[in-house]
């Protein structure tokens, strides 16, 4: 009998089957989670005129507009319109992000709760991750970088200030003044977070607060947290910024940084700004990397192992 011609791409696709079946179990578990809690599943546009202006998130141009880097601004318009609980599962695109933990096109899960904040989102996240783990492997442990992380154990919470004191030996302000905040996070802090149980790093300095509101008791910190499993960043949550003046100021600051670096400055999303002016309820929201969570649940070392068509193969 004639041997079929060797085809590495088809071999790769066949080898991906267990990961893709695990992905299906995880996605089902996520949808069930939100259905039980009466969240509305929404689909917002992939191609948009005005991505959120952030310092270092670059959008892929698409026919005069851009591919979305996140569905955040559209979902917040729906919160302002009175929808109390929303979730969305779908692709986002970020230019130039490619590596063992990044794909320029990846699957994002975002959910929002009106009249709420980032603590309620944390409670959701604990339950959602535990559900997903049970649904995919039936085990308590996630794996990354050689660490077995027990998601059923109580999750650790650590402020950014405490993490810098413990692992970087300086304050976040000192690191920022040296232009090395990101370096300390990546090289010194992240590899120590969530090694035995998931870790939530919280209360970021305002310049790294994204679209989070200020901590009421600590005005130069933002109510933002990030989830780490085995040193891998999984999700980013906010008590959402709802003050239009403060939001306009942060967009302007980010626009200045982008202009200084010679990078494109996206137009202001007028509809979003008007939604804030009309009054968006205090809300909690989160963006969770579905591929990354699946990596830790299935023990994959690279994000390419958990998607059918990683960037390098398209």
């Amino acid at each position: 009998m004639k041997q079929p011609a060797a085809n590495p791409d088809l071999d790769r696709l066949r080898a991906a089957r267990p990961a893709l079946e695990a992905r299906q179990r995880m996605v089902r578990s996520i949808r069930r989670f939100f259905e039980e809690r009466e969240f509305l599943e929404v689909e917002t546009p992939l191609r948009i005129p005005a991505p959120a202006i952030e310092d270092y998130i670059d959008a892929e141009p698409a026919g005069g507009w851009f591919l979305r880097t996140s569905p955040e601004l559209h979902m917040k318009r729906m919160l302002a319109a009175g929808y109390p609980r929303l979730f969305q599962l779908g692709p986002c695109f970020r230019q130039g992000e490619c590596g063992v933990r990044h794909q320029p096109e990846f699957c994002m899960l975002e959910w929002y709760r009106a009249d709420s904040g980032c603590d309620a989102i944390l409670k959701d996240t604990v339950e959602l991750v535990r559900d997903a783990c049970r649904a995919v492997t039936g085990e308590r442990f996630c794996h990354y970088a050689g660490h077995a992380v027990n998601v059923e154990a109580p999750w650790e919470e650590l402020t950014v200030d405490a993490a810098f004191a413990a692992f970087a030996g300086r304050t976040p302000e000192e690191a920022m003044a040296a232009g090395e905040f990101e370096h300390d996070i990546v090289a010194k802090i992240e590899p120590r977070l969530g090694l035995e149980r998931p870790c939530v790093l919280r209360n970021y300095p305002l310049p790294f607060g994204g679209l989070a509101r200020r901590c009421p008791e600590h005005p130069d910190r933002a109510e933002r947290w990030e989830l780490y499993i085995g040193g891998l960043e999984i999700a980013n949550a906010y008590s959402e910024l709802t003050d239009p003046a403060e939001q306009a100021r942060r967009f302007a600051e980010s626009a200045d940084i982008r202009r200084r670096d010679g990078r494109i400055v996206y137009p202001m999303d007028r509809n979003f700004m008007e939604a804030l002016e009309s009054g968006m309820p205090p809300s909690g929201g989160i963006a969770l990397g579905v591929d990354r969570l699946l990596m830790t649940i299935t023990g994959a070392a690279s994000i390419a192992e958990v998607v059918a068509f990683p960037h390098e193969t398209t």
Binding site: D55, Y56, G96, E97, G99, F181, F208, G210, E233
Partner: protein
């Protein structure tokens, strides 16, 4: 001298730092949350083999080294130099034996080789992957010892010692892998 953005770096990319050529032996794209992307690289000095770590930010640029390749034939040894002649121009290049290291034991007259130059200075020689050498000395294999992976020492004409299977005898010709400097196979019917 040209500059490239660090976002173009990949494993195997070559760059120049403080007048030394480096090759990227490991490459990691990092991007913390909302922060700036960092490119963390392990670099290997292409001249002395030393390694170091470097981290760049996405806006940084690095210099590319002036590297060029010439196809050559090995001609002869002269003192501490090995002399190669350019396959096209017949120009002679004197390469210090230290650049070759143990590779100097695998030079065969007229063999097709390649020289990598950094600013006109030879820094690396690529030899044919396999060469043939005669075993000039080895002890006979012990009769009855037929284990397949048992090896014994053997010498080739220039005194270089390799490990060979027990069935290889003095006077046999063998194929040597020049990348690893190790025995590959015995040549039975050498013309």
């Amino acid at each position: 001298m040209s500059m490239i953005p660090v976002s173009d770096l990949r494993k195997g990319a070559k760059l120049e730092i403080d007048g030394m050529p480096y090759i990227v032996s490991d490459f990691d794209f990092c991007k913390p949350g909302k922060g700036q992307a960092l490119y963390r690289c392990k670099l290997k000095n292409m001249i002395n083999g030393s390694t170091m770590d470097r981290t760049w930010r996405s806006a940084d640029r690095v210099e590319t080294p002036n590297l060029s390749n010439r196809e050559v034939h090995y001609s002869y040894a002269e003192g501490d130099f090995c002399v190669f002649s350019d396959s096209e121009t017949y120009e002679e290049y004197h390469v210090p034996a230290t650049v070759l290291g143990d590779q100097k034991y695998f030079l065969i007259e007229n063999a097709d080789c390649e020289i990598l130059f950094y600013n006109d200075k030879p820094i690396e020689i690529t030899l044919p992957i396999f060469i043939e050498k005669q075993i000039t000395h080895t002890e006979p294999g012990v009769r009855g010892d037929t284990a397949n992976n048992t090896l014994k020492p053997a010498k080739i004409d220039n005194g270089y010692e390799i490990m060979v299977p027990l069935f290889v005898n003095q006077g046999d010709w063998v194929k040597i892998d020049t990348r690893t400097g190790s025995y590959n196979e015995r040549i039975l019917n050498r013309k």
